[in-house]
């Protein structure tokens, strides 16, 4: 149990260091691929359409 706890503590430290190493301030690097502007567009477009629909239905159906 003690061995496992020590191993976990060591692993946590190693990983915190690794994050610091990979994701540096001001760097475009990320641990995993960051989202680009274009990748947001489908979600935004769908949301805008649904908002318009909700408003139109609210005003025209009642």
């Amino acid at each position: 149990m003690t061995e496992k706890k020590q191993a976990l503590d060591t692993e946590l430290e190693r990983r915190l260091d690794e994050y610091v190493d990979i994701v540096k301030p001001g760097s475009p690097d990320s641990l995993i691929p960051p989202m680009t502007f274009a990748q947001y567009l489908p979600a935004v477009v769908v949301s805008v359409i649904l908002t318009i629909l909700a408003v139109v239905v609210g005003f025209t159906s009642y």
Binding site: L8, E18, Y19, P25, M35, A43, L50
Partner: protein, 490 residues
């Protein structure tokens, strides 16, 4: 380190506070979406569809459900991206916004307790469905006891939870398409029996005297569902292989697909008045109930498993010495809510109260994460001492909490969500209650943040000079992390 300990450590990534690195990421965008859909497809989705069908006719109910489920996900899925970037759990990620101590309380009260309420729903419906089907075939006696079948669902679901995300990924990549196919088959049969024009012609009694108010209540209930995901983006987002996969897995699986898959339950409720799709399907022939039950046999334990995992993970982060099997087993507390189904029997009220409580937290948390440009001092999150940049005032950041109180007060000023009584119909019938709540919470938090946090850099270590390298560590750079400079995020 022995091989077994090494393997145990690798397992702990999925069961504890250890941040997930790239090699630990098991979810692609597809598999994350499949898991999110598996989470969605269960009792709650069908009960939601049935409840929406009591509030408005078909097309307004469909639009209200889509809008209410999807719009909150647009903002909250950014939390999925945030947790994917850092590989951390909710119980740690929330510390940056709310403070190292306050986050524990908030995550427990607004994350774990509602999750237990949610978990009771699939187990109850599994039990009731089994009872209905067994009764249909003339079987009686103890074997038809719905509580017994609810316990069976719990055991099946928690077994999957115990096995962890790697196992879930493989299981749900197969199970989810099967469930979707079964729902499609039954939906086609329903539409053959009852043409869509006939369904759309049904005018439900509504949840208020004014039909417009009833429509807005339907929107509010859907928003309640949408914001109920708030504390759940980390469990699977943190082990996604890309930020886009984390974002869209949540957005599609919990937002769009939830709303779309609730529609078949609406059909059945309009035509039969039954809130239980299994009972409603009796109207089109008993054999169709069997197909539905097969789907539910997969769906309800799947949802139990996915939800149970996030509870176990958060509990384990509160109590690191808690063995995994006990963290998973803590979900058995839900048996009380299965025996006394207060949440199931008042689902609509549960949703509106959840919306009133959760919208403010969602607005403040998402705004904070975006304003801090997804940056973190990861070491600071794990430091519970007063030296942590997220210690604020005795471990509590008062400014988001004040904003949440202001937002919730606004919500209660507009209406009382527990009895659906509208106080300000002029506001409610145009904007609902959740949208003004989110706006007030967001504006109040932004102002307080600019006044009290930004000038001192409180809780914003990325805006200050780099912290000194801790003695005795191998940290190669100052503890400033997270910029992805020049992208849309910034």
């Amino acid at each position: 380190m022995t091989a077994s300990v090494d393997e145990q450590v690798r397992q702990e990534v999925y069961r504890s506070k250890i941040p997930a690195l790239l090699e630990d990421r098991v979810y692609t965008g597809f598999s994350h979406t499949m898991t999110a859909i598996a989470w969605s497809i269960a009792t709650w989705l069908f009960v939601m569809g049935s409840t929406q069908a009591t509030a408005a006719p078909l097309w307004p109910a469909v639009v209200a459900t889509l809008f209410g489920c999807v719009i909150p996900l647009l903002g909250q899925s950014l939390l999925g991206k945030f947790f994917a970037r850092w590989g951390i759990d909710t119980s740690f990620g929330a510390r940056a916004t709310f403070g190292t101590r306050a986050a524990k309380f908030i995550v427990f009260v607004f994350g774990i307790l509602p999750a237990w309420c949610w978990i009771s729903l699939p187990a109850i419906m599994f039990g009731r469905s089994a009872k209905t089907v067994l009764g249909h075939y003339g079987i009686t006696g103890w074997i038809t006891d719905d509580f017994l079948w609810g316990c069976v669902a719990m055991v099946l679901g928690l077994f999957i939870t115990y096995k962890g995300p790697k196992w879930m990924t493989r299981a749900f990549n197969v199970a989810t398409p099967v469930m979707l196919l079964l729902i499609l088959i039954v939906t086609i049969r329903v539409l053959v029996k009852w043409p869509i024009s006939e369904i759309a012609a049904v005018r439900p009694e509504g949840l208020a005297d004014n039909p417009l108010t009833s429509y807005v209540i339907a929107v509010e209930m859907a928003i309640g569902l949408g914001v109920s995901w708030l504390f759940q983006f980390a469990a699977y987002g943190r082990i996604c292989k890309s930020e886009a996969g984390a974002f869209y897995g949540s957005f599609l699986g919990w937002g769009i697909m939830w709303a779309v898959l609730a529609i078949p339950a609406m059909f059945v409720t309009y035509m039969t008045g039954q809130s239980d799709p299994v009972a409603g399907l009796a109207g089109i022939g008993g054999e169709w109930m069997v197909i539905w039950l097969v789907m539910l046999c997969i769906a309800n334990p799947s949802s139990l498993a996915t939800n149970g995992y996030l509870v176990a993970l958060m509990l384990r982060n509160f109590f690191p010495k808690l063995p995994w099997i006990f963290a998973v087993g803590s979900n058995l507390l839900v048996l009380i809510l299965i025996k006394f189904p207060v949440i199931y029997d008042r689902f609509g009220r549960f949703m509106t109260i959840l919306a009133a409580v959760s919208v403010s937290w969602a607005a403040v948390w998402v705004l904070d994460v975006v304003l801090r440009k997804y940056k973190l001092d990861l070491r600071g999150l794990y430091d519970e001492s007063s030296k942590s940049p997220y210690y604020y005032y005795k471990g509590i950041n008062p400014w988001p909490i004040i904003a949440v109180i202001a937002g919730t007060a606004t919500n209660l000023l507009i209406w009382t969500p527990w009895n659906l009584s509208v106080r300000l119909p002029g506001v409610f019938n145009v904007l609902g209650a959740s949208i003004p709540t989110a706006i007030v919470s967001g504006v109040v938090y932004y102002v307080l943040r600019q006044l009290f946090m930004v000038p001192k850099g409180a809780g914003l270590p990325e805006t200050r000079e780099p912290a000194a390298k801790p003695a005795g560590t191998t940290m190669p750079e100052p503890a400033l992390m997270g910029a992805d400079g020049g992208t849309f995020d910034d």
